[in-house]
Symmetry: C2
Subunit: 420 residues, 2 copies
Amino acid sequence: MKDMLGREHIITRNNALELIMSGLPERKIPSKVVDIDEALGRICSEDIISGEDLPSFARSTVDGYAVMAADTFSASDTMPAYLTLSGEVFMGQPPAMMLAKGCAVKIPTGGMLPEGADAVVMFEHVQIVDSAMLEIMKPVGPGGNVIQRAEDVRRGEIVLTKGHRMRPQDIGACAGIGLTNIAVHEKPVVSIISTGDEIIPAANKPSSGQIRDINSYLLKGMITNAGGTARKQGIFRDDYNEIRRAVEESMESSDMVLLSGGTSVGTKDLIAGIISDIGNPGMLFHGVSLKPGKPLIGGIIRGIPVFGLPGHPAAVSICFELVILPVLDRLAGHHEMLSSTGMAKPVVKAKLSKNIASTQGREEHVRVKLEEREDGLWAIPVISKSGLITTMVKTEGTIVIPLSLNGIEQGQMVDVRLFR
Amino acid sequence: MKDMLGREHIITRNNALELIMSGLPERKIPSKVVDIDEALGRICSEDIISGEDLPSFARSTVDGYAVMAADTFSASDTMPAYLTLSGEVFMGQPPAMMLAKGCAVKIPTGGMLPEGADAVVMFEHVQIVDSAMLEIMKPVGPGGNVIQRAEDVRRGEIVLTKGHRMRPQDIGACAGIGLTNIAVHEKPVVSIISTGDEIIPAANKPSSGQIRDINSYLLKGMITNAGGTARKQGIFRDDYNEIRRAVEESMESSDMVLLSGGTSVGTKDLIAGIISDIGNPGMLFHGVSLKPGKPLIGGIIRGIPVFGLPGHPAAVSICFELVILPVLDRLAGHHEMLSSTGMAKPVVKAKLSKNIASTQGREEHVRVKLEEREDGLWAIPVISKSGLITTMVKTEGTIVIPLSLNGIEQGQMVDVRLFR
């Protein structure tokens, strides 16, 4: 594959990604304040700092008796410590008493320790002598069975960092410290431009030679799953001016532009030409050592990443996951190791059902079906023409043959990265 | 842990799940029709059957020349086959010609094969002699470089089965066959009842002894991620009548009821009592051999599953994932191996940084941090009091010590199931 100046531009997908990442300008991502109940999956646009201690008082972690630990030091089954029962702590209420030496106070799990107490003896280690006297059968150390004030969160502590994607437990932590509104980044807007003289809207009936638009649906789903806002710009004919206008108009309201469709060499060159011609800087690579996905085109126009995707759905999917998703994460303000390396994709181990050959120097992604057999999980490679969408529907994931290998043998354990 | 009749009810989590699953009545899950652009993550309520062939015509998979394969059988570099160039196929249009014996027609990738043609020779294997004559340097077999009519989907074929969760590629497949509206199940409604005299709304300022509601936020996030609709019913005092009324009212508009909070033995017994007393059949288990999560209570009331969750967020999270999520999947009409076994949770391999001990006969889930070191990924166990929410925030996932083991040694490879 050559660019408009005739230079070879086939590179590894890591190099492709680096070219785009290093060419992206620093920019401030807009943010807004949302209720934490609406914050699931959103990216924090500021560090979240606690304004208070959690818990705000020392709590018991067991049902038992609050004591001074020193009063129990010599306690044992044969020589119990005797303590005076001097009251009870109730849930949700401050204790009505101070604990005096030689005394114990009944306390539920989660109850607030009375002043003077520094530990809790579990019910299991206590014998009740009468309504006023307890036998403690086992010593407890200072702090035993207690969550200290601020042990969960200290006032002024950073609970979540800027760039973190909110999970259910993160929302729980915000609730715990009383932050019911937080600042999150606006979702990046990704325009999808479908191209191709043969492409018609999915709701239309194709005439001879025509094919319905599949890729804009596939892309919209993947963009949504990745936390972006997909904006379909429509279907455009393989015409330089028409597509160029669509790219320039999309750029006005988008953080990223994806061009999809165009399986023929002519269309690819058309799209490469448009990205190069608009320039500033324009095309950065044309072709990656990836199968499927080799014809991927990438560039930056006035700070906005623009990709020309291969026409085949399977290639679209691989290019999205490996190159476009990390860029989208960056635009979303998301800074997390596991997502940016693609490691967070669900993975299962399986045995490969037959030999697969590959070309060294090309990273090959092979779709597989999973089969649960008596001796475990097997991955069945489904080799098919890459124009088929149902191969992706009928398979559960992909395995990777790295650049350095020329195949994987039957029976080897492989990592199957599951489609989401 | 004993039920109201004094019987021991501690069971494995698999048994707990079976008790609930086998007690659920068969029921028809309501469904509705949605645009495929809104169908991401939804569950198909009917098999999706194609009304047509995809593609509806034979297409070229390469840029080249459409030919009769038989005309190329003897072709080689030294003895090329000579064919007459008799026209060109354009994208999106039916061919204007029939292919005659001894002729070839220029065709782009994705172009429709003219009648008479049964294969395509790639550009790379063709030399152009003049505007009317081609040299074919390599033979091509019948069907070579062609996707046949209906090769992707046959008319009448089931493309997606009832119970399937729609992924981006599934939406793409529907678009490809012109189904822009599909029937999906309504999302199951899960009521969340927060209980505890010490629990106050997250937006309020706690007095001494009070704690903000964390679990209803955590649960809402997990329910949403699982494709359910969470309905917070409010915070209720540890009072039999108040909680019983909340359960009975929630059941009127819910497919599942979750009770959260209540860390003390008294509260647990209160909730177990309410589930038993409403009955029909009522409580099915009280306590599972799981850490954290041992105090989980489960039952069915008039066909609706009801769970009493432990008060600690980490225990809530484990109980949800292992027991409640599969039940929720069933209520959602979702029928897929990988999700129902929890295998679809993202997993990474890491080396364990220190020995962990466990009690045999109890399945223990330990939270870990991940650390990328020079020699790979390490899992650092974070052992902490289970009342802390930030342990879940500061860790990336959990590892499991199965029932049958009493620990895992330092340096062993472990599967880390990542929090979502």
